[in-house]
Amino acid sequence: MEQIKITNHQFFSLIALYSIGGSIIVISATAAGIANHDAWLSALLLPVYSVPLLWLYWFLGSRHPGMTLIGIVNKILGKWIGLIPSVGVIFFCFLVTGHVINDIGKFIAIEAMPETPEYVIDAVFMIVIVIAVLYGIETIARSSELFLYFVAILFLAAMILVLPNIRIENLQPVLENGIIPVFKGSLVLANISLFPMFLVLMIYPSVFPDIAKARVTLFKGFLFAALLATIAVIVPVLVLGGKMTASFQFPSFYLAKEINVGVIFTRLEFIIALTWIVTQYYAGLIYFYSCVTALSELLGLSDHKRIAVPMGFIISTISDVALPDGIYHLTWHTLAWPPFIMTFAVVLPIVLLIVFFIKKWVADQG
């Protein structure tokens, strides 16, 4: 494989966009559904969780310079046992790319283009993702620098314009139902925006080899995303109240409909939709990139771009089978998604860390 390198700031913006990825518009409904009006406390807990987990990913990467997650798994667990988690990771990325594409398709079909069949919108997004992967991770990282500020500024502008509608009573009484729902809410938020960060191991030691800088940049990127996520949780709760926020599918989107400054700034909801589509696109892009590079590394291919087009073809045909309707979507995301992602984002790295230290200890003894 030819050596591709991305800069520190490109790594930061890629991490930030990926972590915001998709959550910005739905995150407050999920959190408010559990913690009600204390959802903002759940969001504030996220950076606390992130410290040990991101350190774990950084540590695994720092001991295996130049490798990807598949390489690390194979080196630590051996070729044959490592096959199970490797195939698992590839299947995870494959399925989640389909889900991400399908989310975009559903949203556009509901809110903007009800006449167009969903699979057409899915296919168009898949084509754009495949093109980005064919251009390579360098181009993806460079474009993310541009889009991060686009997303952040538009989103913050929409949130500031909605500020006249806030009612501080919506946050009171604080901790009405005790602290337990807050922890539950933060765990569910972590499922959406923190745990997918394990795929950073597909990027960081292999194309961003600067181990010393990576730790700080990783945290910075995540904190930037966590800040936006906190705003995305707190503002809808302040404006609509906990119960209302939980009942909407896309709260931030409906929130932007409330914006009414003079006669010029009205109906800004598609600003929010635009930021969401961009971040969702980057999330899908990272999943797809990981899927293709992981598969090509497992099969021992020298060029991952060769299998990008057929892979994208399969995903675009399967994407609207994978989540057929809203009820299935809800069931899947309640029952299957949390343990599914925790297996790869929490259990797998901890197992890798333990086996790594045992092997090191055995090597030191002998």
């Binding site: 539950k184 291919l301 073809f313 057929p324 029952l335």
Partner: protein
Amino acid sequence: MELVLIIAIFAFVTILSLLEIPKMLKKKQDRELWAFSVLLALGTVVAVLRSLDVKIPNPSDIVLWIYSPLSEIMKNLHK
């Protein structure tokens, strides 16, 4: 309608193969060629079945099935 879809799928597959396979043959990338062919064949089969309105199994169901023992805990988490 089905016929149009199937013709479109085969046109796409043919053009893609004509563009990609000579490149891989020239560079002697045998493994790439195998992976490419298998994935493309799989994609074609799925796409043709879908355009014929055959119900294909949902890959998300596997995940639901694997983690079904944990579903009570997850229901509690989301309460």
